[in-house]
């Protein structure tokens, strides 16, 4: 076997947005009781890392920026096969937008790499809470690394010659790209299926305590580039999206399917939306 691999996976703990609800009376978001989960795309990114580790031997480092509770997401990463987990957490990082976040993650990755250089950096395609898809590209740009977003399959991974061939999903099909390593990929869920973690991993994770890095130690972050100061965007206001006014709903069982549909078609006809396609 050749030399072992080192993969760094950047993850985010997110609220499970499929569980988010809105109070219909006040129009505000109900955050209570919404479980926090590991961003699903990153769960798949980690699986790719585990596959590579199984192939080449080596280590996986996971990294996140977030509140103290984000150690839960990191513990889940340890369960799935990560070796080391780092939480970058400090009040001074609060209210970071994607620019400030990519600064913190990039700087932390540089620090990790001073100990062990990485062969690959992995991010999820996007976080399901913000859906911005900006931090991965931002980090690649800051670290001056080749970037492949929306990676959906690895065709080949040649660690010795530092070359990978990756499939990238775009609207019209699949781009097959060759990139030198190290590189940064953001991944789709198809990149690797989630496997059930072995029991010894679960036990190891239960006893594992993630490292916590502050804004000043072991890395001294530039205060001008973190938190509110380092974030050019601010949230002006937030509101729940208005609902369009509903039309009538009829019950097929009461009216009979045939008549119900005839009524529906009449309504569609009246709206005139199909006039173009009828011709």
């Amino acid at each position: 076997m050749g030399r072992p691999i080192h993969v760094i996976v950047a993850v985010k703990q997110v609220p499970d947005t499929s569980n988010v609800r809105i109070n219909p009376e006040t129009g505000t978001l109900i955050r209570e009781g919404v479980p926090a989960i590991l961003n699903p795309y990153e769960a798949h990114a980690l699986e790719l890392a585990v596959q590579l580790k199984n192939t080449f031997g080596g280590r996986i480092t996971v990294l996140t920026m977030g509140p103290a509770g984000a150690t839960e997401a990191l513990r889940e990463c340890i369960e799935q096969g990560a070796d080391r987990a780092i939480l970058v957490s400090d009040r001074k990082f609060a209210a970071a937008d994607t620019l400030a976040t990519s600064y913190v993650i990039a700087t932390a990755i540089e620090a990790i790499q001073r100990e062990t250089p990485a062969d690959l950096l992995l991010f999820g395609k996007q976080a399901i809470d913000g859906d911005t898809a900006q931090v991965g590209p931002g980090v690649a740009t800051r670290l001056n690394l080749p970037l492949i977003t929306c990676a959906c399959a690895i065709e080949s991974f040649d660690l010795d010659n530092r070359l990978a061939i990756v499939h990238r999903r775009v609207e019209r099909g699949i781009e097959v790209l060759q990139t030198p390593l190290p590189a940064l990929f953001t991944v789709e869920k198809e990149i690797a299926p989630i496997s059930r973690a072995p029991l010894p991993n679960i036990i190891h994770a239960a006893r594992y305590t993630p490292e916590i890095w502050s804004a000043t130690a072991p890395v001294a972050f530039d205060m001008a580039q973190i938190g509110i100061k380092g974030s050019p965007t601010i949230v002006g206001n937030a509101h729940t999206p208005p609902l369009k006014k509903a039309g009538p709903a009829i019950t097929a069982a009461e009216m009979g399917v045939e008549r119900a549909i005839a009524e529906a078609l009449t309504a569609i006809d009246k709206a005139g939306v199909l006039t173009g396609s009828k011709a």
């Binding site: 859906d131 900006q134 080749p146 509903a246």
Partner: protein, 335 residues
């Protein structure tokens, strides 16, 4: 001083993506609220000359073009570096990019290079009283709309998804404005990532730009159920869409997914069968002209946004709908 509002013209193989003109239309609107502003386009690629004229026909007053063999296919490095150089040189006030796979990749890198704020996937753009770009986007899986401002750095960047904005018509009379040609300043050897080949997807239906979309959700029950929807779509000359649960269940591919995490559509007719209508789904279809919802649960939230609702089992309703539409079409032919 003139405020420049820039839009990016996304092109592949010499064809401009329609979202480019949607952005240009939106920029022209913003320009009315921003005193002393001009709307200009940025275009990169190889042999892109014909697209320059198109940009003027949609109302651009100036086009910045970098035409280079290195730019034959989109790659992050040369595109983001080329545009960042233009930005540093010409200092635009606002820069809008399509929130396509390409545009999101590109805009994120540019914003980092020029160290500015970027608001992704906006659904609404406006100029606020202080002459700042107010970019509104859905967050928390579409449960909340947030308006984002970037007060201190320039350009103010935003990406907007295709079909979120109306498609403008080209002007019948237009004049060719100024074209600023810039060198890329990069050779092929400087770009480490190589495109080896492109595998075109299954001749995918253009779900975003279809006039009729027939979509199914969890209630469809399986890949088999989608055959019923396919028949209905065929009868209407439309395409098949799906909600996230149906895609997650593997009944249909992601390319068909409609909603916050899929595509935004604004067809003339949208038929939602067995889709409960979670808010994440609703934000992706709210722009439809007419929504017909079919669901067995009378309390399904999809009925809140439907123009017409049928409470019933889609397995009987959909085939009957197909039958009646076919009958109506046959009758029309005989007329």
């Amino acid at each position: 001083m003139t405020s420049r509002i820039w839009t990016y013209i996304e092109q592949e193989d010499g064809r401009a993506h329609p979202v480019s003109w949607e952005l240009l239309g939106a920029a022209l609107k913003l320009s009315r609220d921003l005193p002393d502003s001009v709307v200009e386009c940025v275009l990169l690629g190889e042999h892109v000359e014909p697209i320059i004229d198109q940009a003027f026909s949609f109302g651009a007053s100036r086009v910045y073009a970098i035409d280079d063999a290195v730019l034959r296919h989109y790659r992050n490095l040369p595109y983001s570096a080329g545009i960042s150089n233009l930005i540093q040189q010409h200092q635009p006030e606002i820069f809008l990019v399509g929130a396509t796979t390409l545009g999101r990749d590109l805009a994120s890198s540019i914003a980092t290079r020029v160290s500015t704020g970027l608001t992704a996937d906006c659904t609404e753009l406006a100029i606020d009283p202080k002459k700042i770009l107010a970019a509104t986007r859905p967050t928390f899986g579409g449960n909340l709309m947030a308006t984002i401002l970037c007060k201190t750095r320039r350009p103010q960047m935003a990406t907007v998804r295709p079909r979120v904005l109306p498609t403008p018509q080209p002007l019948t009379e237009w004049k060719r404005g100024e074209v600023i040609r810039a060198p890329l300043g990069m050779r092929e050897d400087d770009v480490a990532v190589k495109l080896l080949r492109f595998v075109a997807g299954e001749a995918e239906e253009e779900i975003e730009y279809a006039d009729v979309v027939v979509a199914g959700g969890r209630g469809v029950g399986g890949a088999k159920g989608f055959a019923l929807l396919r028949e209905l779509a065929d009868a209407l000359g439309g395409v098949v869409g799906a909600s996230r649960p149906a895609v997650d269940a593997g009944w249909i591919t992601y390319a068909h997914q409609v909603g916050q995490t899929g595509k935004t559509i604004r067809p003339k007719l949208y038929i939602a069968a067995g889709i409960s209508g979670a808010i994440q789904h609703r934000v992706g279809v709210a722009g439809s002209d007419f929504i017909l919802a079919i669901n067995s649960d009378p309390n399904a939230p999809i009925f809140h946004i439907a123009d017409f609702g049928i409470v019933g089992d889609l397995n009987t309703v959909v085939p009957e709908l197909t039958k009646q539409i076919r009958a109506a079409k046959a009758a029309q032919k005989h007329d």
